[in-house]
């Protein structure tokens, strides 16, 4: 028998009203503005855009504020908003080689053309909380220096590519890449699909996986060939016109991770590459993505697939934090009937084992450790 029980409407309404109150906090304290969030919590906004897979700083800031700073909740809000909108167009692939560079470093080439540009980085800071920052003291304007053209900073993989010591980007095949927002993921997935999934995957999950490859769970011996951060043009063909137009810019972070490869029957020994590309200033995520991208290419280089980071289905099926949080968090919703059934089953088993009660038949059907665990 299945008994539906209703109730809780008033509790839910009051809970949401309470949430509104707690979100706003002390009314004497000014409310956060979206400008404050996009400017002063820019990297939180960037993370929400990247993993929400929707570039719109103001919307992401609204989501961060509405979610009280719970970034996965904010990512969820952005994903939900996205589903309400039609897709107008697909852009031409962005050209990271023509980026307006705000940061660009290489750990492999000290004197690369265009130089090492540190940009606004946390690197080399002391990681000490500065009590002085609690007060809103004046901040110096940045130092300026005559700049070379961004055009003089080629991507490091283009420099190395000339000697064929490093794997090339591969051909641009002109095919439409698969899109996981349109068709469900199927395995094995093409690299383009993996990159899409990784670009919107959870930073923490990918960071852990990337770290695992460094610790020996997988085969990478990586160097950061290059990280670059900056704005790129988004170029789109407009309906009814036979030319493309720049419709604006997005800021992205790109990481070229260079890995060793001993060669195979068909390939000479060379450096191989993992690629990371993420919306916003998201260096850690781009690096982790490039490590995992390389690990997932194990089959291409006849590498044994033994570690979690090399297991395509394991990585892609669990990288999405909205999916993950949905399934984990659903456990807190009412499971009263399921649990009653487990409880009854357990009582019958106990009674049977003790030789009293029941109808003498051992319980059949569902019996596994999950049930026992759920009943605990």
């Amino acid at each position: 028998m299945y008994v539906a029980v209703k109730g809780g409407e008033r509790a839910i309404a009051n809970a949401h009203r309470l949430l509104d109150d707690r979100r706003r906090g002390d009314r004497q304290v000014p409310a956060l503005t979206l400008e404050q969030l996009t400017q002063q919590l820019a990297l939180a906004v960037d993370r929400v855009m990247a993993e929400g897979s929707l570039y719109d700083p103001e919307l992401a800031a609204m989501a961060v504020r509405q979610s009280r700073g719970d970034l996965i909740e904010a990512i969820f809000l952005l994903r939900a908003y996205r589903t309400t909108l039609p897709r107008f167009a697909v852009s031409l692939p962005i050209e990271t080689g023509r980026m307006r560079i705000e940061r660009r470093i290489s750990a492999t080439y000290k004197d690369l053309p265009g130089g090492q540009l540190l940009g606004p980085t946390f690197d080399y800071t002391h990681r000490l909380i500065e009590p002085a920052m609690a007060a809103d003291l004046p901040v110096e304007a940045p130092e300026r220096r005559v700049a070379e053209s961004s055009r003089s900073a080629p991507r490091v993989t283009d420099i190395l590519g000339d000697e064929a010591l490093i794997e090339s980007d591969g051909a641009a095949d002109g095919n439409d890449p698969a899109d996981l927002t349109r068709e469900p993921l199927a395995y094995p997935a093409a690299r383009a699909l993996r990159l899409q999934a990784l670009a919107r995957g959870d930073e923490g999950f990918l960071l852990g996986l990337g770290y695992s490859t460094q610790r020996g769970f997988g085969r990478t011996h990586p160097f950061v060939g290059e990280i670059r951060i900056g704005e790129v043009d988004v170029e789109v063909e407009i309906d009814g016109l036979d030319f493309t137009v720049v419709i604006g810019r997005v800021r992205v972070t790109e990481c070229q991770m260079v890995s060793q490869f001993t060669g195979s029957k068909s390939e000479p020994p060379q450096f191989t590459r993992g690629y990371g590309l993420v919306f916003g200033q998201m260096e850690r995520k781009a690096m982790a993505m490039s490590l995992v991208d390389r690990a997932l290419r194990a089959d291409e280089f006849d590498e044994e697939r033994r570690a979690p980071a090399q297991d395509e289905e394991f990585v892609l099926a669990h990288a999405d934090n909205v999916q993950a949080t949905g399934f984990v968090e659903h456990l807190k919703l009412p499971h009263y009937v399921d649990f009653q059934a487990e409880l009854q089953l357990l009582r019958t088993m106990r009674a049977t084992a003790a030789g009293v009660g029941g109808d003498g038949e051992p319980p059949t059907g569902r019996k596994n450790s999950d049930d026992a665990e759920a009943a605990r």
């Binding site: 039609p86 990271t96 560079i101 090492q116 095919n175 009814g240 137009v245």
Partner: protein, 152 residues
């Protein structure tokens, strides 16, 4: 590569500038340049998405990086041409005016003024902002120097 004098290339450049105008810029310049022309909506402005693509490795096969919000509009100037616009973001008025300026640009007697006072001005603003940011970045460039070593 089309030459800068090619009409298609010039319109492309103009539309790219309109799309990248600072907020409020197009609306502020419309009255003085439009000579009382009314903007008649044809489509939108409406908000939607553009799927932004990247390239594997930076230069290889395309993949879907993620979407960006966009607004598009098509308008007709009274008894005049139809203009189109698509811009990143959700600024409806900006998209409407970008389409209106695209239409105005197509009127021969207005084109020079639009190019001079809108297109060139937006490009100047963008270049100035880019220049400042590039200079701030350049100041963080590492100047390596070799330490004296203990051997001859």
């Amino acid at each position: 590569m089309r030459s800068a004098a090619d009409p298609t290339e010039r319109r492309r450049r103009a539309m790219s500038a309109f799309a990248q105008a600072p907020a409020g810029f197009l609306e502020a310049r419309w009255p003085s340049l439009a000579d009382g022309r009314t903007i008649v909506p044809v489509r939108g402005p409406e908000v939607g998405l553009v799927m932004v693509r990247g390239r594997t490795g930076g230069g290889g096969a395309a993949f879907n990086l993620g979407e960006a919000s966009a607004t598009r509009a098509s308008v007709r100037l009274a008894n005049g041409p139809v203009g189109h616009a698509m811009i990143l973001g959700r600024d409806l008025e900006k998209a409407r005016h970008a389409a209106a300026f695209d239409a105005l640009w197509q009127i021969d007697t207005c084109q020079a003024a639009v190019e001079r006072e809108v297109v060139a001005e937006i490009e100047r603003l963008i270049a100035a902002a880019d220049g400042q940011r590039a200079e701030e970045t350049a100041a963080t460039k590492v100047d390596f120097f070799t330490m004296a070593r203990g051997e001859d």
